[in-house]
């Protein structure tokens, strides 16, 4: 496996990374009304990252990612739990959800609510978990090869 520190490769991967994020955000946002959603967007975001890690090496991808996958998963978990438990503190039932409906000029009708936050939590957990598993597996395998 290649493990060189090429600036070109890094910038290209940053660019690819940007597209991935945009695509997965698209999948994520339309999930409520079209096929998509947190799970699918999460895996869609992590697959290219995994492929990048396999070709460029884990350290490179992690430098681009900037955040640790496990803390991403943890944040997602806390977010999902938070949207479920906070309503109980305010006297609503567990997992109570609230929607806001607004009209935004160019984008049209916008329905946004706590389910989106919950789904975001799911998204983060899926991305974090799948990349963390494969990244750390890759690193272990590679370090064994060297040593």
């Amino acid at each position: 496996m290649i493990n060189t520190k090429s600036h070109i490769l890094e910038s290209v991967s940053r660019l690819i990374f940007l597209f991935i994020i945009i695509f997965s955000i698209y999948l994520f946002l339309k999930g409520h009304n079209e096929p998509g959603g947190g799970f699918i967007a999460g895996i869609a975001a992590s697959i290219p990252l995994i492929l990048l890690a396999m070709s460029l090496g884990v350290p490179t991808v992690q430098r681009v990612l900037k955040i640790d996958s496990l803390s991403l998963a943890a944040t997602g978990l806390i977010l999902a739990y938070g949207t479920s438990f906070i309503p109980t503190l305010l006297g609503y039932p567990f997992l109570f959800q609230k929607m806001i409906h607004t009209h935004i000029p160019i984008l049209g009708e916008l329905h946004i609510g706590t389910p989106v936050l919950f789904d975001l939590g799911v998204f983060m957990v899926v991305v974090g978990v799948s990349t963390k598993i494969i990244f750390s597996f890759l690193e272990t395998v590679n370090s064994k090869e060297k040593g």
């Binding site: 009304n33 079209e34 096929p35 799970f39 899926v126 978990v129 799948s130 598993i133 597996f137 064994k144």
Partner: protein, 115 residues
């Protein structure tokens, strides 16, 4: 379609169980993956014959949707299945690097002899 699907799923279960009963770890891993697929499809058949129905995405004027509940169940099952597969893969990796074999009999004989 139901009868046909159920037979296909039966074949998949047959193969999965056969693989799981093998005495090497890799076929067991494959058998497990196939078992997940077969189980998912088995749940999906609960939504009856899909021919003539549309996907459960609500559009005005359409009434004959397929049952969305099995789909939601399977969606989570697929992701969980990935987690379990990953766990098994890493487990096999650990066993392999520790003992150099994926034959279950050898693995356990070794364990007994070290005790």
């Amino acid at each position: 379609m139901l009868l046909f699907s159920s037979i296909i799923i039966g074949i998949m279960f047959t193969v999965a169980i056969y693989l799981i009963l093998e005495n090497r770890l890799l076929p067991v891993l494959f058998g497990f993956g196939l078992l997940t697929h077969a189980a998912n499809l088995a749940i999906l058949t609960m939504s009856k014959n899909p021919i003539g129905k549309v996907a459960p995405i609500i559009k005005s004027g359409v009434t004959n949707y397929v049952d969305p509940l099995p789909q939601a169940l399977i969606l989570t099952a697929i992701v969980i299945g990935f987690g379990v597969t990953a766990f098994l893969v890493v487990l096999i990796y650990r066993l392999y690097t520790a003992s150099g074999t994926t034959r279950i009999v050898t693995l356990f004989n070794e364990e007994i002899s070290t005790k």
